[in-house]
């Protein structure tokens, strides 16, 4: 076993929960970020609108004295302009360079920036290093030889404070929401996976022998799995039952020759009796062994198929070597489309026995042909020897099952073949070949698809 196979794959719950959590976290973070950004932007825009309005108020209150000096005829409403270094300032710069400032600015100066008549805003720092948002524009008065630069600045600190409070609130709200959703996901996953846990418990009960198959009522998604599992269990039970029968039959079958042997051993052994009994035991073992090893292929193994031609050719190569003295020639009529739907070992067993039998009896030629009729595969092995009559062959194929009247080495192969074919749900037919000898045909119906 590889290390990979030993370590169980990541559990379904972990997959589902981890996946949902990552997604949830990501979505909450993006949503929260967008909200915070939008809020900050709104607040800042509103702040700059306020400054803008204040600037307009200030401009309305600005007048030119007859001597050309600029004055603010009435104070701006906000008392913070009177408080020194409050963070709220205004400033008017005459063309001559003289400055008129709010009391709050005291003797500090906010450096004006040349711009024009349009309103603009910018950020800067105040006399106490506080962050300021400045709204400013140039004003033209008749009679003055230059523009008056009007400027108003507000402390953005209070805006930041608001944003921070909002962020805090947002994070805690989203956190709470996330936790709630996480709990919901956990519950959902546990609930959703409950049928699988039930199936595991069901399987454990099967393993412990408390019940023969899965009995639970399963949702649509896992019901096919349970059905497949049950099929496998049924098949297993059937195989075990069959194997048990075989072992029983074999053991019982062996008892008779053993009894004869032990009786012989007590008197003076008669070699012919010993030999006959040994042969009987041998045939019995071959017969049951053949069936037992064929059992593996008896279940229609889906998706397994073997090219008939390839197997027939390799068997012919071997048999040509074994029967080299006989100078046999093999002819084939096997289309490429002839596939045996089952295990290679079983086809090898069927064809091997048929071809070997044909070789034993043939004068000079053994012919192997196959045909896919559309709803089944028919394989025929013929020889040109005197061999068995079809009736004898049919009898021989049954003989494996009967211990009496057994001739050694005769038809044992045929009996194995007919057993195997039967296990595949096919049939074996014996006839006269056009070549002159025996023709054995084995037919298999294609499993219906779906």
């Amino acid at each position: 076993m590889t290390e990979d196979a030993e370590r169980p794959a990541l559990s379904l719950s972990v997959r589902l929960v981890a996946g949902a959590m990552v997604w949830l976290g990501l979505m909450l973070a993006i949503g929260g970020g967008a909200l915070a950004l939008a809020f900050r932007e709104t607040v800042e825009r509103e702040f700059s609108h306020r400054l803008d309005a204040m600037l307009r108020g200030m401009i309305a209150a600005t007048e030119i004295a007859p001597d050309g000096s600029v004055t603010l005829v009435r104070p701006l409403g906000d008392p913070r302009f009177e408080q020194v270094y409050s963070g709220w300032y205004w400033q008017l710069a005459e063309p001559s360079g003289r400055l008129v400032r709010s009391r709050s600015l005291w003797d500090a100066v906010i450096a004006p920036v040349d711009g024009g008549a349009e309103l603009r805003t910018r950020r800067t720092v105040g006399p106490r290093d506080e962050a300021l948002l400045v709204a400013e524009r140039d004003l033209h008065f008749p009679g003055l030889d230059g523009p008056v630069h009007a400027l108003i600045a507000g402390n953005t600190g209070e805006v930041q404070e608001g944003v921070r409070r909002f962020d805090l609130l947002l994070v805690s709200a989203l956190g709470l929401l996330g936790a709630g959703l996480a709990v919901a996901i956990l519950i959902q996953v546990r609930f959703g996976l409950r049928p699988l846990r039930a199936m595991a418990a069901d399987l454990k009960a099967v393993r412990d022998g408390e019940q023969p198959r899965l009995s639970g009522h399963y949702p649509r998604e896992v019901a096919p799995l349970a059905r497949a599992m049950n099929d496998v269990l049924d098949k297993d039970a059937e195989l075990i039952e069959r194997a048990r029968t075989h072992v029983g039959n074999l053991a019982h079958g062996l008892k008779t020759p053993l009894a004869v042997l032990s009786a012989e051993a007590e008197s003076t052994p008669d070699v012919t009796v010993l030999r006959r009994q040994v042969q009987a035991m041998r045939s019995l073992i071959e017969h049951h062994l053949g069936r037992a090893s064929a059992v593996a292929g008896a279940g229609r193994s889906l998706g397994v198929r073997v090219p008939v031609g390839e197997v027939a050719h390799s068997l012919a190569a071997i048999l040509a070597r074994v029967f080299v003295e006989r100078n046999l020639s093999f002819t084939f009529a096997i289309p490429h489309t002839a596939w045996f739907r089952g295990h290679a070992e079983d086809l090898e067993e069927i064809l091997g026995n048929l071809m070997e039998n044909a070789c034993k009896w043939a004068h000079s030629t053994v012919r192997v042909s196959a045909e896919d009729t559309g709803d089944g595969l028919v394989i025929t092995v013929e020889d040109d020897g005197p061999g068995m009559t079809p009736e004898q062959a049919a009898e021989a194929s049954r003989r494996g099952k009967r211990l009496d009247e057994m001739a050694p080495g005769w038809g044992l192969g045929l009996s194995i073949v007919s057993d195997l074919v039967e296990l595949y749900g096919g049939n074996t037919a014996f006839g006269r070949s056009a070549l002159g000898g025996l023709a054995v045909s084995v037919g298999f119906a294609h499993p219906r698809s779906g």
């Binding site: 040994v278 041998r282 071959e286 062994l289 053949g290 090893s293 390799s314 068997l315 071997i318 070597r321 074994v322 080299v324 003295e325 290679a344 070992e345 090898e348 067993e349 064809l351 091997g352 026995n353």
Partner: protein, 221 residues
């Protein structure tokens, strides 16, 4: 004819050895895969009886190793597994024939003789050389149709020569194919045995080629 039996079941190995010796073979026995592989790799056997289920190295592997090393000795496989898929595996590894357990001793002997015959290029079970005839199936030699009585060693020598007629067989080659590895022999014994065979079949049939070995004369035509 000298054969190697590789079989781990002692009783079966002993019976095989006895039967094969009775049938006129010189027999070496190996009881496990490693010994069997080594013997087959180093000694010039005429055939090998190889069990497939062996301790240490299994039969199929041994066979593959021999074939990869270019050993062409005919191999008869003994196997308890009678499925064709297993026979195919054996043949693919380089076997020449198979016998399924349980088997009849006569079957093994018959197949071995056929393998040896085929390996030396004879297709008929009866080998003839002038007035001499060797019936490989029966293990019997006749001269002008009359059976001749031969001891086991005499039979092996004559049988080897009849398998390779008209060819000079060196003294060493003859000894290697006539005696098993535990037989303590010297060339004088071989000389004596050849002398006896000559007396039985006629001295002119077996020629001594000075310094090279012996040759069974092949009649003209």
């Amino acid at each position: 004819m000298r054969v190697l039996v590789v079989e781990d079941e002692p009783t079966l190995a002993l019976r095989l050895q006895q039967m094969l010796e009775t049938a006129g073979f010189a027999v070496d026995v190996a009881y496990d895969g490693e010994e069997g592989w080594h013997l087959g790799d180093t000694e010039p056997y005429d055939a090998v009886v190889l069990d497939l289920g062996l301790p240490r190295i299994d039969g199929v592997t041994i066979l593959q190793r021999w074939r990869e090393a270019g050993r062409t000795v005919p191999v008869l496989i003994l196997t308890a597994r009678s499925r064709w898929s297993e026979k195919i595996a054996g043949f693919n590894a380089g076997a020449d024939d198979y016998v399924t357990k349980p088997f009849e001793m006569e079957e093994v002997i018959y197949r071995l003789r056929a393998l040896i015959r085929r390996a030396s290029g004879h297709s008929q079970p009866e080998l003839a050389c002038g007035p001499l005839r060797l019936d490989t199936n029966a293990g019997r030699v006749t001269l002008n149709g009359d059976p001749i009585q031969l001891t086991a060693h005499e039979f092996r020598i004559l049988s080897y020569l009849i398998h390779h007629p008209g060819r000079i067989v060196s003294r060493t080659e003859l000894m290697e194919h006539v005696y098993d590895r535990h037989f303590d022999s010297d060339s004088n014994t071989l000389e004596v045995l050849l002398g006896r065979i000559r007396r039985k079949v006629g001295a002119e049939l077996i020629q001594t080629v000075r310094g090279q070995g012996y040759m069974l004369i092949k009649p003209e035509g």
